[in-house]
């Protein structure tokens, strides 16, 4: 489909049809982490299925902009109303004639990684200078205290090029690895460990050159750019092999490929459908192996009690929390479920100056739980959420694959 059709699509159809399934039971309202902490957002039912009846292209309720797109409402709805998707579409239409420059810039995640990596120490230092952040807040609308990624001096591509080629023979076939922008530039360790775990299990892992999934642009309502990006990514991932399973340790980006690009932007393309059904979150993949009796469980004990937080966009994939099941298999590990819908950051939501306080309030119960359970360490599958939880709790926060890696004796 033509990229610019995305907005027409959002304005006129798809998820709208599901609003007639709404029985006004308010279950979504009780799961919304944003309306729980602020009166600026009237809640998913009011802004979603109810306000949708009054929309004819234009929104009547502008509090819609305060929806963080965490998807807790859709996940909880027993009637199958696509509440979060409705709201994402309506927001894109609402913002289309006055898209803030800030939103156009912060959604360029690959660009940020590419620009920062060569000058990592300088970039990291610059982002820690308070007066500079104040200026950025004034000019750009990015809150001065919002969590920022730490740039690495080495990208994943750089590591892959320099490391010695794996010598063990692949006995289980070939997988494709999708690392996402953050996994390529900022959270490189997660990607490395994921690849090493898969290789340890006996897979050959291909990492084709790949760009961004466009999730940040999608959630900011920039459908043209997001559609172009996600389709380009599909081509790149498909170039590695036609029938191979694709593995990702970027919890949220996986959701973009599995359903969000199609459901929210109406991308109806065979390439996306192909990638979206072949991709597995790495913990989901390990659990599938376990259920099939094919996962070695010779895990070394790790004495650790820590909070595990499943990102909202991982939960919204409707597969439960596979990491919790995998972590149960490692002797000594007590993963304490966060029981929190969202950490607050919701992609780029919590960076914005007008939403920063809300994002912090949304995350507070999670930060408090981390501090209570284990103030040193916590786990979470998505990069931006880890930055938010690190900043909010002070704990080291890593992808659960770190523990699998360690339990297999790889670190």
């Amino acid at each position: 489909m033509n990229a610019s059709d995305g907005l027409d699509y959002a304005a006129t159809q798809l998820a709208r049809a599901s609003l007639d399934h709404c029985v006004k039971c308010t279950i979504c309202e009780t799961h919304c982490p944003v309306s729980a902490v602020t009166d600026k957002f009237t809640g998913p039912k009011y802004v979603g299925p109810q306000a949708e009846r009054f929309r004819h292209g234009e929104s009547v309720d502008h509090s819609l902009d305060y929806c963080s797109s965490c998807g807790a409402c859709t996940l909880a709805c027993p009637q199958g109303v696509k509440i979060a998707e409705l709201n994402g579409q309506a927001r894109a239409v609402m913002k289309s004639d006055h898209m803030p420059l800030r939103d156009q810039l912060i959604s360029q995640t690959t660009l940020m990684g590419m620009a920062m990596t060569p000058v990592a120490p300088v970039a990291n230092a610059a982002l820690s200078i308070k007066p500079l952040r104040t200026v950025i807040e004034k000019v750009m609308g990015i809150h001065r205290d919002a969590p920022m990624p730490k740039a690495n001096t080495q990208t994943l591509a750089g590591w892959l090029k320099k490391r010695p080629k794996p010598t063990a023979k692949a006995t289980r076939g070939t997988l494709v690895f999708f690392h996402g922008c953050a996994g390529g530039y900022f959270e490189v360790e997660t990607s490395k460990k994921s690849i090493e775990v898969l290789e340890h299990l006996g897979y050959e892992v291909l990492v084709p050159k790949q760009g961004c999934c466009g999730l940040a642009e999608q959630s900011n309502g920039l459908f043209d750019g997001a559609t172009a990006k996600v389709l380009k990514l599909c081509d790149e991932l498909r170039s590695a092999g036609r029938d191979l399973t694709i593995i990702s340790s970027s919890g949220s980006c996986t959701g973009m490929l599995k359903h969000e690009a199609h459901l929210i932007m109406g991308v109806d393309d065979a390439r996306l459908a192909d990638v979206g059904t072949r991709i597995r979150d790495i913990m989901e993949f390990l659990l599938e192996l376990y259920e099939a009796g094919e996962l070695p469980t010779d895990f070394k004990p790790i004495e650790l009690t820590a909070v595990y937080h499943a990102p909202c966009q991982l939960k919204s994939q409707g597969m439960g929390q596979p990491a919790l099941e995998i972590l149960k298999l490692i002797p000594g590990v007590q993963a304490v479920e966060s029981e929190v819908a969202c950490c607050g950051i919701a992609g780029t939501y919590g960076l914005k100056k007008e939403k920063y306080e809300i994002a912090q309030a949304v995350g507070k119960p999670l930060f408090d739980k981390v501090k209570r359970v284990n103030p040193e360490f916590a786990m979470c599958d998505t990069e931006t959420c880890r930055w938010q939880i690190r900043k909010g709790s002070g704990a080291k926060v890593e992808h659960p694959v770190f523990l699998v890696h360690q339990a297999y004796g790889l670190s």
Binding site: C25, T26, I27, E29, T30, H31, A36, D39, G43, T74, L75, A76, C77, P78, Q79, G80, T254, G255, K258, H259, G276, T277, I279, R280, E288, E291, K315, S316, Q317, G318, M319, G320, L324, E325, K328, E337, E339
Partner: protein, 426 residues
């Protein structure tokens, strides 16, 4: 270790999952969304009307079942119901559920009618409608779902089930849970009342309007996570207090739903919310797996036994088309349907026959062809999907759900033990 897939996370699905997991089964609880327990009132009905008002539900069960052939209580007898409700009381603890299932309490509703129910949240017991009671019903101006005048006036003119009358007066007060918000939900109040500071201010505001010897009726918003909030409020006010359940979001229902879900997870149940079960595979007369339609495509869930706890028409588990063909959503099961027309035109008349349609089981809760043999050797059903009850009219929903869930779980465990013993013997 036996593997069980439970479909549906309402009261029946949650109770069965916990019982199975506690006994060592590996349980996956699949649910499209949050279960109906959260929409309930924080009470457990066993039998409220038969059709006259019931005072002693357990004693009434046998006669009721006899008068209603094919009713679930025909196979779930009073002893099983009593045992199952004791189990539910243990699971929820005295902070969330109290009472004697042998005796109904009669509690005020949000429109001031007097509703019979068996087990209740302890925050509601002071609202028992007995002769000579003196209530002050206190409304909160910013909660739009509770009209104290309506409640008080209706209570005043009601001849009480046990005989006599009570007196009730009404007061409306304004204590904002969130400044600047004119229309707050009960949930917003409940969250605010988890905070001891707000609780004190709230109690002061209420205490100012309470008269000597009065019992205070408040909308059921007295704390969400802090289950002792209502008792502290009563102490601060210096008078007995009771909660009156509101339309959803129902805070007492949420408390119970959260507690049972947390209990299920603690028991090791793998909870998978947000996706619909859209298909299944079977061989040799048994269900092998169900397919869960997750975001990235169908995922296969294999198990030794399956429990269907998806609810009735209200949840979409059952549907009727315009030709009055009935359909069960997951397994396309044969359904028992009432004789004659499913729906009659008398809106205020007799119960609509449609709602007694549903899945038929044998007394182990194994799904069977109506009047015939089991459909599959390992597919069980519990709760609202069962044929034969008009649950909201009889006020029988929770009693059926809990007893059938316990029975189904025990049958699955027995079948697993038998299989193991036979396996060992051969």
């Amino acid at each position: 270790m036996t593997r069980v897939v439970v479909i549906g996370a309402g009261l029946a699905g949650l109770v069965a999952s916990i019982r199975l997991a506690d006994a060592g089964a590996r349980v996956a609880l699949l649910n499209k969304g949050t279960g109906g327990l959260q929409l309930g009132q924080g009470t457990v009905d066993v039998l409220g009307y038969a059709p006259e008002r019931v005072q002693r539900p357990l004693d009434a069960l046998a006669g009721f079942a006899q008068a209603h052939p094919g009713h679930p209580y025909g196979m779930l007898d009073a002893a099983l119901v009593a045992r199952s409700l004791e189990y539910l009381k243990e699971l929820l603890g005295p902070g969330l559920l109290t009472g004697d299932p042998a005796v109904n309490l009669h509690l005020p509703t949000a429109v001031g009618s007097v509703r019979p129910t068996a087990l209740v949240s302890p925050s509601m017991t002071a609202g028992s409608c007995v002769d000579g009671a003196s209530f002050v019903i206190v409304g909160l101006r910013r909660i739009k779902d509770f009209y104290p005048e309506l409640v008080a006036q209706n209570l005043n003119r009601t001849d009480l089930p046990g005989g006599g009358r009570l007196t009730a007066r009404h007061v409306m007060i304004d204590i904002p849970a969130r400044e600047n918000e004119v229309d707050s939900s009960g949930l917003t109040y409940a969250r605010a009342l988890d905070d001891p500071g707000f609780r004190r201010r709230f109690a002061q505001g209420v205490a100012a309007v309470v008269g000597e010897g009065e019992t205070v009726g408040l909308p059921a918003v007295l704390g969400l996570d802090d289950h002792g909030a209502w008792a502290e409020i009563a102490e601060l006010i210096g008078a007995p207090v009771f909660e009156i359940p509101l339309p959803p979001p129902s805070v007492p229902g949420m408390r119970q739903n959260r507690a049972l879900t947390a209990r299920a997870k603690a028991a090791g149940v793998r909870v998978v919310p947000g996706s619909r079960v859209t298909g299944f595979r079977s061989s040799a007369g048994a269900v092998d797996s169900v397919q869960l339609a997750t975001a990235g495509g169908d995922r296969d869930f294999k198990a030794d036994a399956f429990l269907l706890a998806t609810g009735g028409f209200e949840s979409g588990a059952l549907s009727a088309d315009s030709y009055h063909n009935l359909h069960e959503a997951v397994f396309d099961l044969p359904l028992r349907r009432p004789e004659g027309h499913l729906v009659h035109g008398d809106y205020w008349g007799d119960p609509q026959p449609l709602f007694t349609a549903g899945v038929e089981t044998d007394d182990t809760m194994l799904v069977r062809h109506p009047g015939g043999e089991p459909v599959y050797s390992n597919l069980y059903a519990a709760g609202g999907i069962l044929a034969g009850a008009t649950r909201w009219q009889e006020k029988s929903g929770e009693g059926i759900a809990v007893a059938s869930a316990v029975r189904a779980a025990d049958s699955i465990l027995e079948a697993a033990t038998t299989a193991t013993t036979q396996g060992a013997a051969s």
